[in-house]
């Protein structure tokens, strides 16, 4: 797949093996600023590995990943961490909120990691929690809120640094359909309003329906799908 012009994040010919298992076998990917791209595929197809490679969490065995014209392979661990802190946001299936921090502290955490003073970070965090309709949970701990509420807190956390790309790995996988839809609405609305690109890993067609484009990963290979409306 040739990368279209103006792409923010481009990956080509990615290969990644875990022992004898080939997780990625020549996968390719691209995304424009503000675009929402769904990465679909059955369990074990390699879609999460693709997301981890794109986000600089996992280094592929071969192939190239370019973010905003910069090759990820040329960056060291500290530079990739810096990139993730400032340019990327993340939402995982189970939220992965820090259980001992309150919800507002969880949302403020990426800002604090970037050196923003606590009060300012929490003010910004509260603003995002308001947009995600969870500002009333600010003082509660993750253990005290429902799954859907926790996932909305996680979405707020992924957006709080105004990242250019949000990586969402099965963000509704642990939620019922109603809650899942609400989370997706809020995520895509907030992302589009901020021109944030979203890489959305899912195996559910109704979740993928929130995307602008779909890529299917199967046996470690990716394929662009034509959207049938």
């Amino acid at each position: 797949m040739n990368a279209p012009g103006g792409s923010l994040l481009v990956a080509e010919n990615l290969r990644k093996a875990y022992g004898p298992t080939m997780a990625l076998d020549g996968a390719a990917f691209s995304i424009h600023p503000g675009e929402v791209v769904a990465v679909m595929g059955p369990s074990g197809s390699g879609k999460s590995t693709l997301l981890h490679c794109l986000a600089g969490i996992v280094t592929p065995d071969s192939g190239s990943i370019t973010y905003d014209g910069r090759e990820l392979a040329t960056m060291n661990d500290a530079q990739r961490s810096q990139l993730r802190r400032s340019e990327f946001g993340f939402v995982f299936q189970f939220g992965q909120l820090v259980p001992e921090l309150t919800c507002v502290e969880n949302v403020a955490l990426p800002l604090r990691l970037n050196g923003t003073p606590r009060k300012q970070a929490e003010r910004t965090a509260l603003g995002w929690m308001e947009r995600l309709e969870v500002d009333d949970l600010a003082k509660k701990r993750p253990g005290e809120v429902s799954g859907g509420q926790g996932q909305r807190v996680a979405v707020a956390r992924s957006l709080v640094t105004s990242p250019r790309v949000v990586f969402a790995d099965e963000p509704t996988g642990a939620l019922d359909s109603l809650n899942g839809e609400r989370v997706m609405e809020l995520l895509t609305e907030a992302a589009r309003s901020a021109s944030t690109a979203v890489v959305l890993v899912t195996h559910e067609a109704r979740v993928a329906a929130y995307s602008d484009r779909e890529i299917v990963v199967r046996d470690g290979k990716s394929r662009d799908m034509e959207r049938v409306v």
Binding site: S43, G44, S48, T49, H52, A55, I57, V58, A78, S81, Q82, L83, R84, R85, S86, F88, G89, F90, F92, Q93, F94, Q96, V98, P99, E100, L101, T102, E105, L109, P110, R112, L113, R118, R141, G143, E144, R157, S158, D169
Partner: protein, 783 residues
């Protein structure tokens, strides 16, 4: 509830303990390892009394003193034995010269036959030492040919250095305290020693304080993997298990870990027993066979450990509600109450209070009250610490991200953090209290020797038959000897020493050149041929009374005594004009009395009848200077007795108790360190996914590492502060009980606290590499 149902639930728990693939096994093995280490230490403690008693019995069985007032006469069932103990580079070597006087001469334990003259039987450890490269000086000192080894029954430890060498003509030196004629070895009528109440108290407190942290450790070990177990129990609730069933299943799971731990512990103990046979700590070693646990105490350990595991698990589950849809720990845990936590230490104080001021002269301390009181005070720490940690962390404000992550975690689960440092806190509190007690009563067991180390650092007693001038010359020529002050001594009496009643007046005779005599008396002038009589001695006051011109005085010969036939009766008639001089403190710190003679003034008949006391000034910058001096002593005469001087001596029992404490404290700290590490790793493993996701969104590894450090440092600081408070209180009470003034040696308090803190620091450092591994993105993978 039927018994069958209960056992089925327990059995299910046992199965769960080992289910769950590699991770399940790992968890079970970690628990078992923890329990096993604790069990091994408990078994060692139960075996120690036996080891001490066997060592004592063997020591008694080989005693080679004459227990009768009159030594037996030579016969075919007697042996003459001479003590030739020596020291080699700080290690004691038990040496004996033996001379059987007939075919029925008794054999000491461990020997099947006596060595011939010039030959020796040695302990295995001495054989190894003599064969080593660095033992040239010792080989020169003990030059006999090795013809065999001493059996285990003749040694008190596997690493003891000992030898029996064949001698000749030993009885000629019988008057010296180092030579005895025996018809049997050992004390035929051993009288039990009255126990010293303070030493007995120290004994009890040492044992309790060493075992308490082990108990705390075992309690912590059975809770490894607790969170995962709770989630499993929730799944069981979903399929119909009720609350009681889940508790029984949890109990079964804990029991399985504890039982496996018992097996491992027994294994560790057996291996440790063998290892113990090849090590020596502070001069004490044992044979593996000494370490036999008392069957009753071993059985108690076998029952108590699994029972404790079950009780601890059930106690831990009391605040957890396991619902079918998950584990509910109250998000805002109920605040810990102080009152019942205070009851424990207060009850401990109440048990110790009646014994305050008792001292050592009012009989033994009530061991039950002491044990109970000390235990309650120390358990009080484990009860108070969670409350203290909870209260303190609740007040901590926000700081950097690492600090915030740590503080919030502690606020949410302060109990886990407190449990982790409980063991260290108990051990440090115990060590502080014991250190105070040891320091306080030290003066009662450590005596100043009065030896003047600025004048000499070694004393050599030389038998009477050594030639005076040649002996002094040999020592003067010895490498590392700066100065030799030689005096020759015997006793003078106003009647024959062989007469029925012995002399009525007796005084010392000291012979030496003017320089040597000036070390013992203030001489107005002195030249060879002069004689003096001493005044000013505290104990020997007969000298001036015996200084009557024309009076005949008898010298005590090396073989004097009613039982021995007088070989020669040497006398001296007191001449007129002997100057009376004032005695001064000699290098040993005593003021002597009697007569002083320069060598030319010594009657010819007295030569060979005076034994030498040589005070050596040693150049300690010369390596092995003391060893060279000891070798010269052995070359002069194998029965010469060199002694390195010290400023003080300490009671053997006190010293061995202190050694025991040191060894025990090291074992306990290592054990607690291991437990901390396992608990830390387990917590990190539980948070693997969270750690990976934090790294995924850019958290620096340094931030997470620091947060782990704070999570340990905050509770340990609080734990050590509490330990100091309890330790100082307990120490003060124990000192009051022994009627000793209360004093605090802050340097040792701080060193104990520092040791505790160091263990935590080392554990944190050791847990950093696994932490780094757990932060890898692999943790995010779900397939």
């Amino acid at each position: 509830m039927s018994l069958r149902q209960s056992s089925r639930d327990l059995g299910l728990g046992v199965r769960f303990a080992f289910a769950g693939g590699r991770e399940g096994w790992m968890r079970a093995v970690l628990t078992a390892l923890g329990v096993g280490l604790g069990v091994a230490l408990l078994l060692l403690s139960t075996a120690l009394p036996n080891a001490i008693s066997v060592r004592h019995d063997r020591e008694q069985a080989r005693l080679d003193w004459s227990f009768t007032e009159e030594p037996p006469t030579a016969a075919d069932n007697t042996v003459v034995i001479a003590n030739t103990d020596t020291t080699f580079r700080g290690k004691d070597v038990r040496g004996r010269l033996v001379e059987p006087e007939g075919p029925r001469a008794p054999l000491p334990p461990g020997l099947s036959a006596y060595p011939a003259k010039g030959e020796m039987l040695v302990s295995p450890a001495l054989k190894r030492l003599l064969a080593s490269d660095g033992a040239k000086l010792l080989r020169e000192r003990i030059p006999y040919r090795i013809t065999g080894t001493i059996g285990e029954s003749g040694l008190i430890g596997s690493q003891e250095l000992a030898y029996y060498a064949g001698g000749e003509g030993l009885f000629a030196h019988e008057a010296g305290s180092n030579v005895s004629r025996l018809t049997a070895f050992g004390n035929p009528n051993p009288t039990p020693e009255a126990p010293d109440p303070v030493l007995a108290l120290l004994n009890i407190v040492v044992i309790v304080m060493l075992l308490m942290p082990v108990a705390v450790f075992v309690a912590a070990a059975v809770r490894f993997g607790g969170e995962r177990r709770d989630r499993r129990l929730a799944a069981l609730r979903l399929v119909g298990a009720d609350g009681r069933m889940t508790r029984r299943i949890a109990a079964g799971e804990a029991m399985a870990g504890a039982l496996l731990g018992l097996v491992l512990g027994a294994g560790f103990f057996l291996v440790g027993r063998q290892v113990a046979g090849s090590v020596e700590v502070m001069g004490i070693s044992v044979w593996p066979s000494y370490l036999n646990p008392s069957p009753l105490l071993a059985a108690l350990v076998a029952v108590a450990v699994p029972a404790a595991a079950v009780l601890v698990t059930l106690f831990a589950l009391r605040s957890v509600v396991i619902e079918p849809l998950g584990v509910v720990r109250s998000a805002k845990p109920t605040r810990r109450r102080l009152w019942w936590r205070l009851v424990l230490p207060v009850a401990g104080l109440a048990m110790l209070y009646p014994m305050l001021g008792q001292g050592r002269s009012n009989g033994s301390f009530n061991e039950y009250l002491v044990t109970g009181g000390v235990m309650l005070l120390l358990i009080g720490i484990t009860a108070l610490l969670p409350w203290l940690v909870e209260r303190c962390v609740a007040r901590l404000g926000s700081g950097g991200v690492a600090w915030q992550l740590a503080v919030r975690r502690l606020q949410l689960s302060s109990g886990t953090a407190a449990r982790m440092v409980n063991g260290i806190a108990v051990a440090v509190a115990g060590a502080i209290a014991l250190q105070m007690l040891f320091a306080g009563v030290d003066g009662q067991y450590t005596k100043s020797t009065a030896q003047d180390l600025s004048r000499a650092q070694m004393q050599v007693t030389v038998p009477a038959d050594a030639p005076m001038a040649a002996t002094v010359e040999k020592f003067t020529d010895t490498k590392g000897v700066r100065k030799v002050t030689a005096v020759w001594e015997s006793y003078l009496g106003d009647a024959s020493w062989n007469s029925e009643n012995g002399p009525q007046l007796a005084a010392e005779l000291t012979v030496g050149d003017c320089a040597a005599l000036r070390e013992v008396a203030k001489l107005p002038s002195c030249k060879d041929g002069d004689r003096f009589v001493l005044d000013g001695s505290e104990y020997s006051v007969d000298g001036p009374k015996m200084n009557v011109p024309g009076k005949m005085l008898y010298i005590e010969s090396p073989t004097s005594g009613p039982a021995s036939a007088p070989e020669k009766e040497a006398t001296w008639t007191v001449p007129a004009g002997i100057t009376q001089v004032r005695s001064i403190e000699d290098p040993t710190g005593s003021r002597r009395g009697g007569f002083l003679m320069t060598p030319a003034a010594l009657p010819k008949d007295f030569e060979g009848m005076v034994r030498g006391e040589l005070y050596l000034s040693i150049d300690q910058s010369v390596p092995d200077a003391f060893e060279y001096a000891r070798n010269t002593a052995a070359a002069v005469n194998p029965l010469a007795d060199p002694t390195a001087w010290t400023a003080s001596t300490t009671s053997d029992k006190f010293e061995s108790l202190r050694t025991g404490l040191l060894v025990g404290a090291i074992c306990v700290l290592l054990l607690i360190g291991a437990s901390l590490l396992v608990a830390q790793l387990e917590q990190l493993r539980e948070r693997r996914k969270l750690l990976s996701s934090l790294v995924a969104f850019g958290t620096r590894r340094r931030t997470l590492g620091l947060s782990v450090l704070w999570q340990t440092a905050i509770p340990i600081t609080l734990g050590l502060l509490l330990a100091m408070a309890v330790g100082l209180t307990l120490g003060a009470i124990l000192l009051k009980m022994t009627d000793t003034p209360v004093g605090i040696d802050w340097s040792s308090v701080l060193s104990m606290t520092g040791a505790g803190a160091a263990v935590v620091l080392v554990v944190t450092l050791l847990s950093l590499p696994p932490l780094m591994r757990l932060m890898r993105p692999d943790g995010l993978r779900t397939e």
